[in-house]
Symmetry: C2
Subunit: 333 residues, 2 copies
């Protein structure tokens, strides 16, 4: 009989949690019992899994000693309150929230990180921006003398949750029907518009998402001095991240070598430069990072420019967490 | 009796030409006769002006000696074919097309450039990206040791003309009504999506718009060695440019001094950092560049980050051309 693992998904009714359950179903994950957990508000909802509906149970009071692996997809507050409890019960934790200090893993970038883990087993999942950047830049570490990464990240509504997705649809319909616009989730028109920030900036003007991506990319690439400048923009797009990236190298960039490295890199699909990928047309629903528009600076041979698109909910969150779990169970078996 | 100037607008039925006629009407421009010119296909259309409809006449065969000033808004091919003819007839030319070699002027940035002009009088109008960047950076020249400007420019449909504006509306409606999508003006879905390029790249991967902005910004700021990296993205927005900008200075940036300089700069409106501007909410229909999210690099005191929004058709094209003409007529009077 093959070994299986009982698993808990915390935040199972959110966009990421729901996708995570789908990914567990799609992949050949050696799943035993699956416990879907959420806050009281979502209890008694059900989530489809392998042809039947699984009922969502209350996180509060759940006995984590029943499961071997727990995926935390319910945000920082919930991770902070419950992940330690899960660890204390002997359960391996995959934490999708920011800032909980667990070592970050992207399966294609630093799988070796998991081998060095000490009990209690806790793995962090980076946000979608750092995941995209790490997938693109890790294969280039030996080719580039990486000094600075400057990124404009156009984020979709799904990054802000289901209410934001509905808000874009509603605002768009109102505008196309010439009805008065009533912003709700956002404080202004987001349909047919670009918002300069996602969340509220700190006193120095930086967003939490920008600071998170900065720290996470340094950690994933193991380049603690790498300069990382991220600008997060809310785009009128439902699903998928689009990143415009400029990299400064300490020496001239060999573009052919970059293309060759990226066309062989794991978790990455380069469209070739006679085409380019888009979030909606390529990345959404897929397991890999799509790359296009690879080019040197117009006046700066030490600059590399790239365009990246990624399914923010899937490879940018849920899939990556499941991949970490797949690596982890080799140690748990 | 006050002096007036007879004027021709070439490309009067396009988005920029039509706005230019509106701007002439709104401002106290000392206009005599106004001749609206276009290709044969648009002849006999009419354009509203000062309460009546002006008939569009054929550019082919027009006698430029009838006018003192000609605005060329019909693109490079038309400018190349007819601007010299206008000059030879003694007419001052304001050229809105790229690459015609006339000295570029943004009224708030380098008005002195017009004083040095020799006959025949020809003035170039930069594109909207360089105009936005020059308005923001010119007031900072004495504060920053400008080394490199890295820009992601999210461009609206109006930058690609009326057909593109209609295409976004049509694609959006099709998607919201769950009808099959039929891209026409673009080769793929642009509604609820971001396209990585605007136009076709050259063999090195650069777009004409990116190369134009690069050359124009260097010229406007009179910094021939400034490094300029522009990435142009087609956003699902009808009107208004949104630019995410990172500037590298040779020395640490004094953010307070930058804010102070920009809050006094001509043609610029800084929202303050407790708010931010958007293209739709602020810039469209306005005469100034809106600036927000002024901040230093998170890990790099020599970096300055900015968010810019501009009405690409108005200040990014038509208004700027009229402002140049207003400066020029001081010499013609």
């Amino acid at each position: 009989m093959s070994v299986t693992f009982d698993v808990a998904v915390i935040g199972a009714t959110g966009t990421v949690g729901e996708t995570l359950v789908q990914v567990l179903e799609e992949r050949d994950f050696p799943l035993g019992q699956l416990h879907l957990l959420a806050s009281e508000a979502s209890v008694a909802q059900s989530v489809p899994f392998r042809g039947r509906n699984l009922r969502v149970k209350a996180l509060e009071g759940f006995d984590f000693s029943q499961v071997r692996i727990a995926f935390f997809c319910a945000g920082e507050v919930v991770s902070e309150a419950f992940a330690r409890k899960a660890s204390a019960a002997g359960c391996a934790v995959i934490d999708l929230a920011a800032g909980q200090g667990a070592p970050l893993v992207v399966a294609e970038v630093n799988p070796d990180r998991l081998e060095l883990l000490q009990a209690p087993l806790r793995v962090g999942n980076p946000g979608s921006i750092a995941t995209a950047l790490a997938l693109a830049l890790a294969p280039l570490r030996s080719l580039l003398d990486l000094e600075q990464v400057t990124v404009t990240a156009c984020l979709p509504m799904s990054a802000a949750g289901r209410d934001a997705v509905r808000e874009l649809a509603r605002q768009t319909t109102e505008l196309l029907n010439a009805r008065p616009l009533e912003p709700r989730v956002f404080d202004r028109q987001v349909a047919f518009n670009m918002l300069a920030q996602v969340g509220t900036p700190d006193t120095a003007g930086h967003l939490a998402l920008e600071k998170r991506a900065h720290l996470e990319l340094r950690e994933l690439l193991q380049l603690p001095l790498l300069k990382v400048a991220v600008s997060c923009i809310q785009a009128p797009v439902f699903f998928g991240d689009s990143l415009s990236v400029s990299v400064r190298s300490g020496s001239p960039v060999d573009i052919e070598a970059v293309c060759a490295a990226l066309s062989q890199a794991p978790g990455v699909e380069w469209t070739g430069n006679d085409d380019y990928p888009t979030a909606v047309g390529d990345a959404v629903g897929q397991d890999v990072l799509y790359i296009g528009r690879i080019r040197a600076g117009l006046d700066d041979p030490c600059q590399l420019n790239l365009w990246l698109t990624l399914d923010n909910v899937r490879k940018g969150a849920a899939l990556n967490a499941v991949q970490s779990a797949e690596l982890l169970i080799k140690r748990l078996s």
